[in-house]
């Protein structure tokens, strides 16, 4: 029986001012009916372009198919007209996109947008449709179906919006569901629910799923088969378990190894003496500036009695989902935000929030999440690094010397000082951000999701760099993340936060194998690819005899 | 049409229009005119602005009107006599004249207008009333004015409108009287409609006292704010008559060339407009006669007439217009255009030019009445710069111009004044010494000129009943004023009027287009 989708020797050209000629190069791929095929690769590998090509969603002016062909259910769709593609989309092929925030029309009710998907392909028997919409809403387990259809996208959570997307995609019971990183923007627990929903739908409707992701954990949880893409080419395909455990291609192997192992056995350094930082009973209510005449709506509490301690030289991982208050806590510690009650003591002395006195400021520094927003586009690296130090009294000459030292320390050449941020890759920018924080020789470094925006391979390098610097400078660190794997790879202690409160606080071994709180347990259970994790560790331990090959030198610094 | 119109051609044009009135007047038709700017009111009792009288003189009438050669012509007064000593004026009023609202016109209306209404609202009427000892009405159709002293100019006062007394019974505050907007007169046309910003519509008064008149059915005054739009309206036949100031003078030259379009310079014999450049005699160095003479020599007045006013104007070297019966060119001093002489006079006055050739600096307040006067101000600046006098133009609007001139807050000032038919009413107070720091109005002694001999001559001439004696007195006054050049008389203004050939009897008196248009008719 012919495959649902057959792609032979497909090449898609990028516009001429792009960094490489072809987005997709000589790709051949098959998707069978009812199968979940995962398309894995780093950003820029062409996986989304390939998926879009199948449904003819390539932006006409920028990308065009130059070779090969695509057959959908035996029909050659490569040269399909927009009209013929239109009959295919929504009817035979359903789509789910990554950004739930912007994928829905803000000015139309959710129900209407689902009903629209039906109307596009049905002859207009309006009556049946609203019932069908309710059915779809229930099928995707959205809460309070009768009312939610009248709500607007901005009134729904990220997870709920993704469920609406799924409802729309499966409205006409398509044969193929293309999901382009549907859960990347969601919290771990929500992600787990959505993945289960997709598998359940695959079961019920028997549709094939082309699932695009960069997270091997997700691949482990959902994929029947896997295709790995690198710079436009498919370098390996095979059954999920085979590829994940014995990857044939060296690039795949390197990618898999870059995923931090969720190991609980590493004995963390026990912090001696009184803690460098101690936070007790911190409360902060989030007063949204509403117009005066508006009656005070319920006050959301960002921090509800949060407290933690960080020993000298100790690294604490602060783990929580979006809205848990972990970033707010970080900002209070760094002095970017104020709080209503509770206190923070640093090096034995009580410190204020935004009105912190100048002497204390340099001693706590911060590294930010978004590499593209954390460096001022108009300033050269020299100024980014030296300005704060000079303002805090360091003479220019010494600042320059320290800058050069730190640049090499974070793996960048001295010439970088004269260049502007837009000349660097994401990974390099995070290194510059780190150097900037270290310029003031802080005792405590607060890192707010420093690696979340990076590809897995780059992520691994930065984590190693952080580990080295921590060891060399004896730096204490508060590492904020939503990813338990990253936390376990870095932390001496793991603190889990939920709704502004501390749910769990203990060593990685204790939190990851015997979590006390229900929330920590749920969080752990939701980590994608847990089954694959245990199998991987057995293999990992076998490799443990020879020294852990630090992955830094494998990938050239300038990537 | 040659640029100069010798007075001979003037009289020919006049007689022509008189001759054509004899041929068959065909009644009926609508006359389209332009009023610019839109007047605040058309009640000529309330104000005497140009646009107001242009419309109002068709609705209201005075006792007399005046021919082109300044002879009084009967209007509401059928006949009149003046006592030998010039003290008693007796007017016999026309009978069976009705106001537009049907009320009869009687002597009561004349007395009410001259004693109460006009002096309350019009400063000039107040000055005329000061000359009158008492006004008597022996019967309903006779009015007798007795003056305090002989005042020959009094005969020229009677084109001012008479207002219906019956509408103002019991009214004391005439300025805001509700009746002011009723526009009830005795004239050949009645007020019909005023659509603000668009047009004013007057219709034929069926029971007008002049038998068979007026010939026209109605008159429309179009309101068009932009000069170009006005020229286009005339060119496309939407409008029949263009008055001076409606369009640029050289546009008038262009439009005059169109077929079936006539051009006349007649119709200003009563008002006799003259263009001035005031010199503030109270400000140094303009108090020095030699400086004033130098300025007179520095300005080429023929250039002003030919280039700026496109030939519409005549040279005048004294306070009176060429149309005045008392004009005596023989006694006037002509300061011909001679920059060398101007420089010599300025050196003599001790005003040596500094390093970059500037003797002294003055402020010129231009007349904000459109581009013509603006260009003349710019020319004056260039002309005086040539003799080392730097002129700064003061940009201001009408209220600002009025305030600066009347409060002597200027060095040079541009102006034009209606010198009117009789010097006693027209220009005497402009050259009579005044105390205090306010000249009252821009028609007054804005120059701050003061000469005891001139004061005496003008006062005496005003009240001299004997015509010959008045002439000699005014000649002596003109001789002194012209020599002392308190101001520059730039030109004797000609306000041309353009009209379609089909419009007949447009100009039939000294008041020109300010006439009541009872005689105007349209040839088919």
């Amino acid at each position: 029986m012919t495959a649902l989708v057959e792609i032979e020797n497909l090449s898609i050209a990028l516009p001429d001012d792009a960094d490489r000629h072809l987005a997709v190069e000589h790709v051949s791929l098959r998707v069978d009916r009812g199968e979940v095929l995962c398309l894995v690769g780093e950003s820029g590998s062409g996986k989304s372009v390939l998926a879009a090509a199948i449904a003819g969603l390539l932006p006409p002016k920028q990308l065009r198919v130059t070779a090969g062909n695509i057959r959908f259910d035996g029909v050659d769709v490569t040269r399909f007209s927009e009209a013929s593609f239109r009959r295919l989309r929504g009817k035979r092929i359903g789509f789910i996109f990554q950004e739930p925030m912007s994928a829905l029309n803000p000015v139309l009710t959710v129900g209407r947008q689902i009903e629209e998907a039906l109307a596009a392909h049905a002859d207009d028997d309006r009556t049946g449709r609203s019932a069908r919409v309710l059915e779809l809403v229930r099928a995707t387990r959205l809460p309070d179906p009768e009312n939610i259809v009248h709500r607007y996208p901005h009134q729904l959570s990220g997870g709920q919006r993704q469920r609406v997307m799924i409802a729309m995609a499966i409205a006409n019971e398509p044969d193929l569901l293309i999901a382009d990183e549907p859960t990347t923007a969601l919290d771990v627990t929500t992600q787990a629910e959505i993945l289960r929903l997709i598998l359940d739908i695959r079961q019920r409707l028997g549709l094939a799923v082309l699932f695009i992701t960069h997270d091997f954990g997700v691949v482990a949880d959902i994929a029947d088969r896997v295709a790995v893409m690198k710079e436009g080419c498919i370098i390996e395909t095979g059954a999920a378990s085979a590829v994940l455990e014995q990857p044939r291609d060296s690039y795949t192997r390197r990618l898999i190894e870059a995923v931090p192992v969720l190991r609980a056995d590493v004995a963390g350094k026990s912090a001696a003496g009184d803690p460098l930082l101690s936070v007790e009973g911190l409360v902060k209510t989030y007063r949204e500036r509403r117009a005066p005449w508006r009656r005070a709506t319920s006050q959301a509490r960002a921090l509800d009695g949060a407290g933690l301690t960080i020993g000298r030289g100790e690294t604490v991982a602060l783990v929580g989902e979006s809205g848990s208050g972990k970033t707010t806590l970080g900002q209070c510690i760094v002095g970017l935000a104020d709080w209503d009650a509770g206190n923070i003591r640093f090096d034995g002395r009580e410190v204020g929030g935004t009105a912190r006195e100048r002497a204390l400021r340099p001693r706590i520094q911060m590294v930010f999440q978004d590499p593209f927003a954390s460096l001022n586009p108009r300033h050269r690296v020299r100024r980014i690094l030296t300005e704060a130090a000079i303002v805090n009294g360091l003479p220019r000459k010494d600042a320059e010397k320290r800058m050069l030292g730190l640049l090499s320390r974070v793996g960048l050449d001295a010439a970088a000082a004269e260049r502007f941020p837009h000349a660097f890759s994401g990974g390099q920018r995070q290194r510059i951000g780190l150097a900037r924080a270290l310029m003031l020789q802080p005792d405590l470094l607060v890192a707010d999701e420093p690696v979340s925006a990076l590809d897995v391979s780059i992520q691994a390098q930065i984590l190693d760099l952080l580990a080295e610097i921590r060891r060399d400078l004896g730096l204490s660190m508060l590492f904020i993340t939503h990813d338990l794997r990253v936390a376990s790879a870095v932390a001496d202690r793991i603190v889990v936060m939920q709704n502004g409160r501390i749910a769990e606080d203990g060593t990685p071994d204790q939190v990851l194998s015997r979590p006390r709180s229900a929330y920590a347990r749920a969080l752990l259970a939701a980590v994608p690819g847990l089954g694959w994790e245990s199998r991987r560790q057995r293999v990992g331990r076998a490799a443990a005899e020879y020294p852990a090959i630090s992955t830094r030198q494998l990938v050239p610094p300038s990537s | 049409m040659s640029r100069f119109l010798p007075s001979f051609a003037l009289s020919v044009a006049l007689s022509l229009s008189a001759w054509s009135s004899a041929s068959a007047q065909t009644a009926g038709g609508t006359l389209n005119l332009i009023v610019q700017p839109e007047p605040p009111t058309v009640n000529v009792g309330v104000n005497r602005l140009g646009p107001t009288t242009y419309v109002g003189n068709k609705i209201y009438e005075g006792l007399l009107t005046y021919s082109a050669d300044l002879k009084p012509v009967p209007r509401l007064a059928e006949s009149w006599t003046v006592s030998d000593d010039g003290l008693v004026y007796t007017f016999n009023l026309r009978r069976n004249v009705k106001w537009h609202d049907g009320e009869p016109f009687t002597a009561k209306d004349v007395v009410f207008s001259f004693e109460k209404f006009l002096p309350a609202l019009q400063a000039r009427s107040r000055l005329n009333l000061a000359e009158v000892k008492e006004i008597a009405t022996p019967d309903d159709h006779t009015v007798v004015f007795t003056l305090k002293a002989a005042f020959p100019a009094f005969i020229f006062v009677h084109n001012t409108a008479v207002l219906p007394a019956h509408l103002y019974e019991g009214v004391t505050d005439f300025r805001n009287a509700e009746a002011n907007t009723k526009f009830v007169g005795t004239g050949p046309f009645k007020f019909a409609e005023w659509k603000k910003g668009s047009f004013i519509h007057l219709v034929k008064n069926p029971d007008y006292w002049g038998d068979g008149k007026p010939y026209l059915d109605d008159i429309f005054f179009h309101v068009i704010p932009d000069a170009n739009s006005r020229a286009i309206a005339f060119e496309t036949g939407k409008v029949d008559v263009l008055r001076a100031g409606d369009v640029e003078n050289f546009d008038i030259r262009r439009l005059a060339e169109l077929d079936s379009v006539e051009l006349t310079e007649a119709g200003w014999e009563i008002l006799q407009p003259v263009g001035y450049i005031h010199l503030n005699n109270r400000h140094k160095p303009l108090d020095d006669l030699r400086v004033r003479q130098a300025i007179a020599h520095a300005i080429d007045r023929q250039f002003i007439i030919d280039t700026i006013f496109a030939g519409f104007g005549h040279e005048t070297n004294g306070p009176l217009s060429r149309l005045s019966q008392f004009k005596d060119t023989a006694v006037e001093t002509k300061y011909e255009y001679d920059p060398a002489k101007a420089n010599a006079l300025l050196d003599e006055a001790g005003l040596k030019p500094d390093a970059n050739g500037v003797r002294f600096e003055v402020q010129l307040v231009p007349l904000p009445y459109g581009e013509l006067w603006q260009r003349q101000a710019e020319y004056t600046r260039e002309a005086l710069a040539a003799v080392g006098i730097t002129v700064n133009l003061v940009a201001t609007d009408v209220p600002g111009w009025f305030k600066r001139l009347t409060s002597f807050d200027y060095d040079l000032g541009q102006n034009f004044v209606y010198t009117t038919a009789d010097p006693a009413v027209g220009i005497s107070y402009a050259y009579t010494t005044i105390e205090g720091d306010n000249a009252g109005t821009t028609g007054g002694n804005v120059n701050g000129y003061s000469n005891a001999e001139v004061d005496r001559l003008l006062a005496e001439a005003g009240h001299e009943n004997d015509a010959e004696k008045r002439r000699t007195l005014y000649s002596q006054a003109q001789k002194i004023i012209s020599a002392e050049v308190p101001q520059i008389w730039t030109h004797d203004i000609v306000f041309p009027t353009l009209y379609r050939e089909k419009v007949r009897n447009l100009i039939t008196s000294g008041l020109g287009t300010d006439e009541n248009f009872a005689d105007v008719w349209l040839a088919k």
């Binding site: 999440q369 954390s374 704060a388 | 170009n228 260009r375 133009l393």
Partner: protein, 280 residues
């Protein structure tokens, strides 16, 4: 950011705009060399038609050389336009930056103040100010600046509002930099591109307002600007049409070039919105 030459080649409009603007600037700068002496000087016979010998654009009713008027007028018009833009940008950036960075109550007050000036019919307010404060170079510049700065303030506020939330601003605060230093050194440089685009388009409207004022006869008589030439020439429109047509064309070309340069700048400075046209 793509190199300027590449932008110009890709966007012909901007190239035309830059060429035109350069020509006009040159004309303004070298006005004294090309037409020495006072443009008011009555050089020749009045009403000479254009292209008559020695007088490229002919002469006006008083025999003044129109070409000299245009050249010197270029200088005055561009002076007014740049002065107004300078004032409006300075004031607008100040208000916008403070409103955007501090937000809350300060933002409300500043925005109400900006809104106040945008509600009043701007041209009417300008006319009133010019008529009241006896038109001089400074009064005209002030009058137009008063109604022009709100546009800049709105653009700057929107930009600063989004920038203030960026991580590099937080990094500066953590580094212990003072607020004024952060606003001046870190935030404002990033506001440059939208301000430049808004300013170039605003300069265009300023020239139109100035010519409108002169058309109504409110311009100052001492200096010759294009608006003044247009205003005085217009009554002679049917006889010597060139007196107002040529200044009109001069204004049109300048405003056109400013618009095109504005669009070009927009493409060059924020490529993300390249080919997107004017940001509102």
């Amino acid at each position: 950011m793509a190199r300027p030459r590449e932008i110009l080649s890709r966007n012909p409009g901007a190239a035309v705009g830059v060429a035109l603007l350069a020509a006009i600037l040159l004309l303004a700068v070298f006005a004294d060399l090309l037409y020495p002496g006072d443009p008011w000087r009555m050089a020749a016979r009045p009403n000479l038609p254009p292209f008559s010998p020695g007088y490229l654009f002919g002469t006006d009713m008083l025999g003044r050389d129109l070409a000299a008027g245009i050249a010197h007028g270029a200088r005055v018009t561009l002076l007014i336009a740049s002065a107004v833009t300078g004032l409006a940008v300075a004031f607008g950036v100040a208000v916008g930056a403070v409103a955007g960075y501090f937000g809350g109550r300060v933002d409300d007050v500043a925005m109400r103040f900006t809104e106040f000036f945008q509600t009043i019919p701007s041209f009417l307010l300008t006319v009133v100010i010019v008529a009241i404060v006896a038109p001089s170079l400074t009064s005209i510049i002030l009058a137009i600046a008063v109604v022009s700065w709100p546009q800049i303030a709105r653009v700057v506020r929107a930009e600063v509002l989004s920038l203030a939330g960026q991580d590099f601003v937080r990094a500066a605060r953590v580094g212990g930099l003072s607020t004024p230093r952060i606003i001046w050194g870190h935030v404002l440089p990033n506001v440059l591109s939208p301000v430049i685009v808004a300013a170039s388009l605003m300069t265009a409207t300023v020239i139109l307002i100035e010519s409108g004022i002169s058309f109504l006869g409110l311009g100052n008589r001492d200096f010759v600007s294009w608006g003044y030439l247009l205003g005085t020439g217009r009554t002679a429109f049917r006889v010597n049409w060139w007196l107002s047509t040529i200044p009109g064309v001069a204004i049109f070309l300048t405003v056109l070039s400013l618009n095109l340069v504005g669009d070009g700048l927009n493409d060059w400075l924020n490529p993300r919105s390249s080919g997107r046209g004017k940001r509102a």
